[in-house]
Symmetry: C2
Subunit: 259 residues, 2 copies
DNA sequence: ATCTATTGTTACTTTAGGGGTAACAAATGT
DNA sequence: ACATTTGTTACCCCTAAAGTAACAATAGAT
């Protein structure tokens, strides 16, 4: 009747490189164990005129076995073997691509002073990269605890070798995290949550200054989230100053004032 | 000038899920390290009208970082990270697909008596499966040593627990392999190399009978190679008889004659 | 300030792969 | 012999992605 096929499974198989009809047909044969083209067609709704070619292709790829005759019968090779094969081929491909990409890198990385990152994964990736390079001091601002939780382990490790300063705007919301937090002034946090440029609402969610020379800030502008990496020592110095200024006076340490 | 891009690399990246233009653009940015859309366009020949959108997409996926301005600059995220991410996602997908496929297997495998396998990988896979199921006796015929080499380790292991009989048509060609071989009669090997059915030349290359009830034969018909699996005990018995008959008389053992 | 070249965008065409449909030939079964 | 099922062929359609051409917006030069 109407497709009992798990659409998520079909989608996954497509991502593994099968066409939609190939995915449906393979699932069909696996479901039916040992079967004819017609049965597969009826279960999967792949047009009967197409099913023969599709099953042939799958057999050629080694995913099916065939018993000739009229009708011809088909049998699925164990999914574990099939998926394993696809995976192996993909991984070989990935390894080869990586090798080839690495050969392109003849120049040393020109490190430009400012970059913008527009994917969630890219942001986390870059934060982790910066964290792994911190030598002495790290200042972290966060407007909500989620992102800190994400990097809790990395930060905990850093705590042993570096001076860490955590700045937040509401101490309460962070009390579950095992760090010592300092609170910003009310004015500052109001300001941070309410920056509008060209009609776009900016919401600074996270900020980090590493060794006073590299910073990354994560904000949402409109409905998009992005991060900005800045490596200009001057700018970072200014940023650091600002963060030092906006701490609640009672928490400001002597040595920070002297900078 | 004319593309210095490694086409193999482009092809690999396409297999990893990028479009051709995305692959070229990413390779371009990796090559140029830190660069503008125009430079990427000139290096890769991706149409200039397309390069902006393509680079944006790559940034959205997290493979590039952006420095806004006019011109906008682009920088590649470390290929190791990028390829690693793609690989992880793929593998998750593969694992999920396998789980879902395994849920479909409600019935016990109906074992049909005869199957045809049309991919090299599928053939090897099935041979290995059969080898792993042998309990007592295995008879192997091979017309060339390559395929035996492929399974040398598996066969060596079997030798300890089973009676193994190797039948070949030219002892000389197999002397490098660490097994005891028996030779067929000249007539038989001539016959085997010269079977023509419906104008198609059949060349039996490999044959194996496991415990007298399951057999697999690999042959090329025309220019195609395929394998036939037969699980009918009767047929296997007959096949076994034939193989026993065609051994050079001097090598025929007593107990084989008595069967 | 004006002109020019470059940057970035938009709208369109083309192509190829995959999917769907209809109609026919070949084989099977009554 | 006839009908049914199996298998094939020739189409059409749609979409994703590549290519093209022309225009707007910006930056640099005179």
């Amino acid at each position: 009747m109407f497709s009992q096929l798990n659409p998520q499974l079909i989608h996954n198989l497509e991502r593994l490189g099968l066409t939609e009809n190939e995915a449906k047909a393979y699932v069909g044969v696996v479901s039916l164990r040992e079967t004819t083209a017609r049965e597969v067609h009826e279960l999967t709704n792949v047009p009967r005129a197409k099913i023969y070619e599709v099953l042939k292709v799958l057999a050629k790829k080694g995913y099916l076995e065939i018993r000739q005759g009229s009708p011809t019968y088909f049998r699925a090779v164990d999914p574990k073997q099939v998926i394993g094969k696809i995976k192996d081929e993909f991984i070989n491909c990935a390894i080869e691509a990586l090798d080839q990409l690495n050969e392109l890198s003849y120049e040393l990385p020109k490190t430009s002073p400012v970059w913008c990152i527009q994917s969630e994964w890219g942001i986390k990736n870059r934060i982790r990269e910066i964290l792994s390079g911190v030598k002495e001091e790290l200042i972290v601002f966060a407007s909500s605890p989620e992102i800190l939780q994400e990097f809790e382990a990395d930060l905990k490790k850093l705590e042993k070798t570096c001076r860490l300063t955590f700045i937040v705007n509401e101490l309460d919301r962070f009390k579950l995290l095992p760090f010592e937090f300092r609170e910003t002034t009310k004015e500052f946090s109001d300001f941070m949550n309410n920056i509008v440029i060209d009609g776009l609402q900016y919401d600074e969610q996270f900020f980090m200054i590493a060794d006073g020379k590299e910073s990354i800030g994560v904000h949402s502008a409109g409905n998009k989230r992005e991060a900005v990496v800045i490596k200009l020592p001057v700018v970072c110095y200014l940023q650091k100053m600002i963060y030092n200024r906006v701490l609640e006076p009672s928490f400001i340490k002597k040595d920070l004032n002297s900078v």
